[in-house]
Amino acid sequence: MNLKSHFPIFDTHPELVYLDSAATTQKPRNVIKAITDFYESSYSNVSRGMYKLSTDATQKLRDCRQKVATLIGAESSQDIAFTYGATDAINKVAYGYFKPKLTAGHNIIVTTMEHHANLLPWQKLCKESDTELRVVRLLANGNLDLEHLVELMNEHTMLVAVTHISNVLGIVNPIEQINKLAHEKDIPVIIDAAQSISTHTLNAIDLDIDFLVFSGHKMFAPTGIGALYVNPKYQAAFDPHFVGGGMIESASFFETVYQDYPQVLEPGTPNIAGVFGLGAAIDFMDDHSIYSQYDRLELLTQDLRSSLSNYDRIQVLGDSTNSMNIVSFEIEGIHPHDIAYFLAGKNICIRAGHHCAEPLLNSLEISAVARVSLSVYNEHRDIELLLEALKACINYFE
């Protein structure tokens, strides 16, 4: 089933071929409405108000926390902290949980395919704590070299940081297996689900997840909101980092007692409209069984990959047998920016560049790639238009 009709952007721009959902997804009508309704008819701050607007908003925020918990199969809504995005969430885990625990001799493991958001915070922490940063290699086909991961892990490993889906290669990492391998050695794992939250059913308990982060704006929700799941066994060891109102037990000028997780991570007025939009996005995903679109989108992805591979001058990155929603490629002799610009002239939106994964691209000896990415509103026609346009592009730059 095609969900395009639920996204007003395609009413405004019927010609739009939007193939940049890995950067951010478009928003369905009910998400936009949730925001508008809040501001137009029920706006208030949360938590400390006695009047109906405020108690309603407080209750709704609580409901949205439960929705996120349910979405990822967490035991309790109290396992969920709201953040301002995936980047914000990873940094808050880095500083609030790991930094105080790191010393020289420890190591942290990342993978070659991490987004800057799940690499740079660990790189920075390692530098500051004299901790070693270890990088899991890729196999020739782009997949993680799990044997290398096993080699890298030892009793001094404090964390494995891994993305669920690579935002460049589209490769889907076996997070259940990675969790198992790490947990055998009592090593916690942080999973960056920024790209997978809209495609993969995640169950925090079944998958035995330690830390998991994602951004709302890549799953049909507004900008400026994200979520963090922390397994109950790590919650007590969170230190306050950013501090302010709404997170204290008691405060004096010189001593403060902070509340526990998740409040300890949520100082200040939250992005309330963002939370409500996130809740509405989860409703949208439920109402339209988004995860049942998996097979259709996997097929589209395969189709796109194989069609691109048919061109002599096109080089597709990654593993054709293990890839979801994201396809990056190069065209010999045409710079990715020129490809993207040429397509933009035909109302086709793709993205070119290093996609915040510069170390990955360096390791592949590429400086930039063109990336096509799909979501539930895409259909076969979009791919046809793309392929036609790419043909024209190759001719144009001949």
């Binding site: 710079h335 920016h337 020129d338 002239g345 560049g353 510069e358 400086s367 930039a368 730059f397």
Partner: protein, 137 residues
């Protein structure tokens, strides 16, 4: 709409993209590295003149058609005009691209006239030139 986008690519830009001037990987230390962190474009400039007086310049790297063509012209004009001349020209060219003036001091650079209407591509036209202004005094 399509032509709006494609008027960026003056035929001479496309030509220079395919056949840039003095485009060659070199072993010496580059005298300039022009880098755009947003898009990954990156060119290195090399001075292969025996007297290190910019009489024989080369460049190498990756970039879009616009940045490649413009860096190619930078190399060519640099050789002709020397350091003082090229700095003056870089100043003037930046003003031209940013629409602070309509005067373009060098005819060969007129192929970038339309770039001025493509805000997201100004950096491409100026990649090497801006770095030159920053680094070489």
């Amino acid at each position: 709409m399509e032509s709006d986008y494609l008027d960026l690519y003056h035929p001479r830009i496309l030509e220079l993209d395919k056949h840039p001037y003095h485009f060659k990987k070199c072993v010496e230390e580059p005298i300039l590295i022009a880098n755009n962190p947003f898009c990954g474009d990156r060119f290195k400039l090399f001075d292969k003149s025996p007297n290190k007086d910019y009489a024989a310049l080369f460049f190498y790297g990756h970039g879009c058609a616009v940045s490649k063509a413009s860096t190619s012209l930078l190399v060519e004009l640099f050789e002709q005009k020397g350091l003082t001349g090229i700095r003056e020209l870089a100043d003037q060219f930046a003003k031209f691209i940013y629409k602070e003036t309509d005067h373009c001091a060098e005819d060969k650079l007129l192929i970038f006239e339309n770039v001025r209407n493509h805000p997201s591509r100004l950096d491409c036209a100026l990649l090497g030139w801006n770095e030159l202004l920053k680094k070489l005094h």
